[in-house]
Symmetry: D3
Subunit: 225 residues, 6 copies
């Protein structure tokens, strides 16, 4: 059971759902009031994709496209922090130094992305490592890690538990693209060097998150360092 | 004919149109290369409205809702600045001091909103006044100022030219809401005290802007101080 | 009776009085120690007027003149914060984001003005709204709101209680200038949209403030949203 | 004759004179347009003294009193920069790093004080040394350096030229207070280690400054490293 | 031949050599004066290693150890920028936004590292991509890229030219550690997506750099996107 | 006996000793946990000297050399703060305003130098004065203050207790250089005006510091205001 601090990565997908978002706001406040201390990282979701697409049409370079995606993820972070303004820190921190300043006030810290060429999963791991947090819960678009993309490969097998080195081997052998969003090698190498356990669960069911935190039961994938 | 520096307010509406946006990018670069010096303020458009609606559903207060709208307008500003990164300043300035720093480098300055309870038109006038610029071109959702909302009142008359004090009298006598977006009393009072002329044109036709700048001919409304 | 958080606007006039200022310092510290949580906004007073006058003689534009007034109000804020350095935050916050950071530390927050074309009363309302504070006490140069300027109009009647919409109607019908310093339409519209009650009292008698806070009795004007 | 860059320290006294100030504004602009590159440091003058006195009455500590004096000097710097906003940098730099950033834009840099326990003369020498400027013109309240305070000692002799080490010996032998404002040992030691010549002239006559710059003739004191 | 802007990564090794450093200072100034526009990224070298070792003994976590290494690389950047203070920007930029601000002034931009878990080679590529620069010259500890570590494997073969995808395949097949410092997969993926050519040369001979820039002849490895 | 807040100046020498440093880290954490509140200022030590020497060879000016020394002292501060990251504030504050912000969070504040031409002893006294702390413990390279440099003058006598004015008289009469590092006149004048007692002890023996704090017994020199 997770009782101490943890880092929570929320898929940008969440911000497209007017049903799910209010429930997450309530659950996060409830957990905070019950003594769980969290840093949250939000993805950019469909908003990021829309601005990157728009930007690509007007010939914006890759670095500045990524920055648009980062700003989109920060807008999601700001929406969440505003809804939790009784407990969350504002304005949204944009780098590790600002995360430390925000964390020092004892408030709930919520961020989006940090830098071009870097996933928000990596940001979540950098924050975990920096603050000495040993658990990252990744509420993803998909409900677990599979041996291959289940939408493409009907033989793909769900992994209940996998070590980082096993997962890295799987990633190297895969040929299907799109794994970037979930967990990239850079993110995994940080988890490994600092002994951080990653819990991948689906963001679609609130019960997965609640059960993982309050009972310690994962219905997704546990990635061990 | 406008030959010197001017401030350009671009309706957020523009960022919903994949057709218009690239054309504005090209025109702004062309004008810049031809020696026109500009500060640009972008609106938040449908993105701002979407996040404010979403925020209202999760009980965010008015001040923080406005801040979401401001961040949305800054995302639009960032998109435009990224497309013009050969001439524009980044990151997007968020207050008058940062505008001055950006302006001092000689680059094209693009901003979104500044503060809750304040329209982007007001921001455009504050920047004009601060930098000593005497002309604001307001590319609006509507093609001119009318005596009343033309979508509601079939007797509404388009104004070719109107003084600020006449316009303020009209605004006071109006009962139809929604005039906020165009020009509010605070914005007008700044224009008046600093002698700034406001040219309201529609953002839907690029030719209105081009003709106004290069020929000095307005097909919208000229508001004189 | 006011028991919870409130925002306090202090007329710049206070900083011209070597008698009153120390008493306010003592009262604010006493209230703080008794559990009242406050954000304070100070006016620029005679210092602001002097620098604006001086600036006008050397042809400074309206925007930069306002900024001199803002810096003057911040100097007053700094004087007060320095006298209360055991409980107050330093350096003086200059915008809403900095107010939030300062407020997060749990210290007494004191600011001056924020932006050209904006009264310190508006700043006080923006801060109230942003922090979710529902009461603003405006310690003004005058002891209450009147139907007209009592120094000019002998028929002017003191208002004990007035709604924001009634007050706006009165302001519109007035022709006498100088109401700017007390409460402008922008300030009132923020109070209205966020349900903030404004208590106008005179800053000349310390007892007015003390009685309002500890007993809830106003001898000035209560403006209800 | 001084033809290259120089640093100019302006006594806070200047900001008490509605006659002198506009003339200095004009002269500085004229010099700038004629190709002289300058960094200017302004004193706090009577404004600083007033706020320090007021602060002392409400028991503010020495460090925070000095900071009030620094803010006063910055308000003077802001007034001057606003009057020269066509050529000067804003907002007022508050430390050496910000001075470098401002200087890099090619604009006229104007600052007030930097730190408690430090004279604005020391600030002017720190800036000179940092930017590699070898001449400081100190427009002081007094027209030159004397062997003793001429208001007190009728035998005090005006010094036309003096070396820094001679001046330090004189300062050590003096018993009269109040030399702090002019040049302190810390300021002199910076001038010495970096080979900076200090020209002390009176700020009361504009002709002293003009002649020194355009003709190279000093009617005050030249302090050689 | 390289004639336009390029990014230069300087091995931290350089700052351990009192012979080489002054020569690089002179060459960089000479190139700048001849019209080459550069952004420079410096490594942390032996200083970084010393502080990381020291930190490891007092149980500092990986993230904070990396930050010590970053600060060390920034101290090297500051040393170089101070020696080139007539043309370089100060203070040292610490992220992409600050790089853009510095670059906008037209001065030589020098940085160290940015973020934990990120090589300075990656920083150099992020800056190249951000500023639209298509050439990175990597002055490394080793004179070229080899098929394996030549200090360990006597069969290691020097590569004159290699594509990024070929190099990635080689990196994946290698088992020898220590390739991190030269070029990691993240750095290469940025080069690939933005079409940046990397020239790896040894920092030990100044002639390699000079010839590469002025004649376009590489005696190291050219990595093509 | 010292029971309340104090400021601690740590000689840069400490960071050259892999034996002493871990012991200081442990002692500081132990004191903090026992309720002692501290601000710590670290010197630059041999690292500062090395970079200043290197810089002098490549013709860096005095101001920028000092800044390299300041950055070196900040790297030492960062090392210490990283080792104490459970209680210390990060990033390292670089001026008094940032010190106040850091202090407001209730965390241990650690800084290096602030400004060219200023010793870290002066920084420690500026911080003491600013925060209203009345005791500075100076853990120096030497175990006490002597009437003259004991390494040079065999008649030099150790001072157990000395007043600031007596010490200033001794400093003036000395001809031996190198006293700069210990205590300069500017540092002493701040101690005097704000009534701060300075305890000089040697950093070589941890017992000196422990005994001074927990028992109040000095085996160095007490300098009284």
């Amino acid at each position: 059971m997770i009782r101490e601090s943890f880092t929570l990565k929320l898929s940008g997908h969440l911000f497209d759902s007017e049903d799910l978002l209010p429930k997450y706001v309530d659950l996060i406040r409830e957990l905070w009031k019950n003594g769980y201390r969290m840093a949250i990282v939000t993805g950019g979701g469909s908003l990021a994709r829309r601005y990157i697409e728009l930007g690509r049409k007007i010939n914006i370079n890759e670095s500045l496209l990524d920055m648009l995606g980062i700003s989109a993820s920060r807008l999601n972070a700001q929406l969440l922090a505003a809804a939790l303004s009784d407990i969350a820190y504002l304005p949204i921190p944009t780098n590790l130094d600002e995360v430390f300043r925000a964390w020092s006030t004892g408030r709930l810290v919520i961020t989006g992305g940090f830098q071009p060429g870097q996933s928000t999963a990596t940001v979540a791991l950098l924050i975990s490592e920096f603050l000495g947090i040993k658990r990252l819960i990744d509420c993803a678009n998909i409900d677990a890690v599979y041996t291959n993309d289940p939408r493409v490969d009907s033989n793909a097998r769900k992994l209940d538990k996998v070590s980082i080195s096993e997962l890295m081997a799987i990633l190297r052998s895969r040929t299907v693209a799109g794994t970037y969003d979930l967990l990239d090698p850079w993110a995994l190498s940080i988890a490994q060097r600092s002994g951080i356990t990653i819990y991948v669960i689906g963001c679609g069911k609130l019960s997965s998150l609640r059960r993982l935190i309050t009972e310690g039961t994962s219905d997704g994938t546990v990635i061990t360092p």
